[in-house]
């Protein structure tokens, strides 16, 4: 599973950071930093899915084998 964030949409809400801090964080200026590759760990995947659902501007999409999930 890979994370894609549409940086044109992202408004630094931080909901993804709260849900899955292993994969989302901010730099000093509130720009979002993303660790895109998600390991095959179900707990981590659940947190990443939660992060995608919590984003108020729906900037986070998840892809498996190159397709939207």
């Amino acid at each position: 599973m890979r994370i894609h964030v549409d940086m044109n949409r992202c408004e630094s809400h931080g909901q993804c950071v709260f849900a899955a801090p292993e994969h989302f964080s901010f730099d000093e200026d509130d720009n979002l930093l993303v660790v895109e590759d998600v390991p095959a760990d179900e707990a981590v995947r659940a947190a990443v899915r939660e992060a995608a659902a919590a984003c108020p501007v729906r900037a986070v999409t998840l892809h498996t084998d190159g397709t939207a999930a």
Partner: protein, 406 residues
């Protein structure tokens, strides 16, 4: 066994979220989503921001579609009465729906002025409201009067000011947004308004409108007249639960629920198979004795996920799992400044300022009650906000455990 026919009333954030979550969690029975608005479901926060500014239209703010999920979506259909005894729902067109489980997701409506108003006086809750107000702002010589400087009035005033429209913002309290986020942050917001040229009139309220047929302004309690071509009443929201009066559900404005979102009856017991989510519901929180009404976007999303789990909890599987402790979050965008909050700042008895930098557009305030952290607000400092999240979750969990042990 899960219910055969689930009816969700209210087709916006909480309602569509519940319906989608039910399908995602494997519900394969009949699912009906009933909403009184004529539009496909859309998201509200942009209405006072990008949509009012003319930067976005309905296509940009649509909620994730429910098509292809086997959901019967009935738009333009208002629910008028709920009957628990024979499990039916009456609709305004005279038809009736039978249900095995029902979810109340009818949100809230703008608090109206208590008397008839002239033309040009608006509220802001729906897409049609936002479009109507946008037309007013685009007119030659537009002047806007906003009554109420809560987050919604404050955002609308900011959007109008950025469009170059002269704005007067009237607030009964001494500072904007102070009831929600306190005087330090309220003072910060006041500075932003004044720098942008908004005439902020605090400590006064609106007495009456002027203009016959079409508004020309308003007279304030202090006797002054404010000229305006349009007025926005931003007086807060009232839960959309009038249609539930007499149904037997316990109402305190919103539907009173347990921590799972299950509706309570007037005698305080759980009503089987009836839930309420989003702005139409109130539920317990470790920081209050009674129940809390939030009216936040994130709460509606969280409620929807929990509701689907509760509805699909197998009958023989024992007690419902305890829902995750809620750390409420809220945001507001004004003048390009991103206000983000966590927890419950409005319940604090003390605010501590960590950073207050108006020129740098940065703010960090923590909120405490009896010395204990209960909330935090930042402006353009979401990175710092994130660090408080686990601390707040721990504090709330601790409180819940302590209350359960009593």
């Amino acid at each position: 066994m899960s219910p055969r026919h689930i009816v969700v009333v209210g087709a916006s954030l909480a309602g569509t979220g519940t319906a989608r979550a039910l399908r995602e969690q494997g519900f394969d029975g009949r699912l009906t989503l009933v909403g009184d608005e004529p539009h496909p479901p859309y998201d509200r926060p942009p209405l006072s921001k990008q949509l009012l500014a003319g930067e976005r239209e309905i296509g940009d703010i649509a909620l994730p579609p429910t098509d292809g999920l086997g959901i019967e979506l009935r738009t333009g259909a208002a629910a008028t009465a709920l009957r628990l005894a024979d499990r039916t729902l009456a609709l305004a067109d005279g038809s009736r729906l039978d249900w095995d489980a029902l979810v109340v997701a009818t949100g809230a409506a703008a608090r109206p002025w208590p008397a008839p108003v002239p033309g040009g006086v608006h509220t802001l809750r729906t897409l049609d409201d936002a479009r109507a107000l946008r037309r007013e702002l685009a007119a030659e010589g537009a002047r806007l009067l906003v009554v109420g400087a809560g987050f919604l009035g404050s955002e609308a005033a900011a959007t109008a000011a950025e469009l170059g429209v002269p704005v007067t913002l009237v607030e009964a309290e001494e500072l904007p947004m102070a009831r929600g986020i306190g005087t330090v942050a309220g003072g910060f917001v006041a500075r932003l308004h004044r720098e942008a040229g908004v005439e902020l009139r605090t400590g006064t309220t609106l007495r009456s409108f002027t203009g016959a047929g079409r508004v020309t302004g308003a007279v304030l309690e202090d006797g002054t007249h404010v000229p305006a071509t349009a007025v926005l009443l931003a007086l807060g929201a009232v839960p959309g639960t009038a249609w539930l009066r007499g149904s037997g559900l316990l109402l305190d404005g919103a539907v009173v629920c347990d921590e799972h979102g299950r509706a309570l009856a007037e005698d305080g017991t759980v009503v089987p198979d009836v839930l309420a989510v989003g702005d139409a519901s109130r539920r317990p929180h470790p920081l209050t004795d009674g129940t809390l009404h939030l009216g936040h976007w994130s709460a509606a999303v969280e409620h929807a996920a929990v509701a689907a789990r509760v509805l699909l909890h197998p009958a023989g599987a024992g007690e419902l799992p305890e829902p995750p402790v809620a750390v409420p979050s809220f945001w507001s965008d004004q003048y390009g400044v991103r206000f983000r909050s966590l927890g419950l700042p409005h319940l604090a008895d003390e605010a501590r300022t960590v950073e207050y930098d108006v020129p740098g557009r940065r703010l960090e305030v923590t909120y405490h009650r009896d010395g204990e952290l209960v909330g935090v607000l930042t402006a353009n400092r979401t990175r710092r906000l994130a660090a408080y999240r686990p601390r707040l979750a721990d504090a709330f969990r601790h409180r819940r455990a302590a209350a359960a042990a009593l």
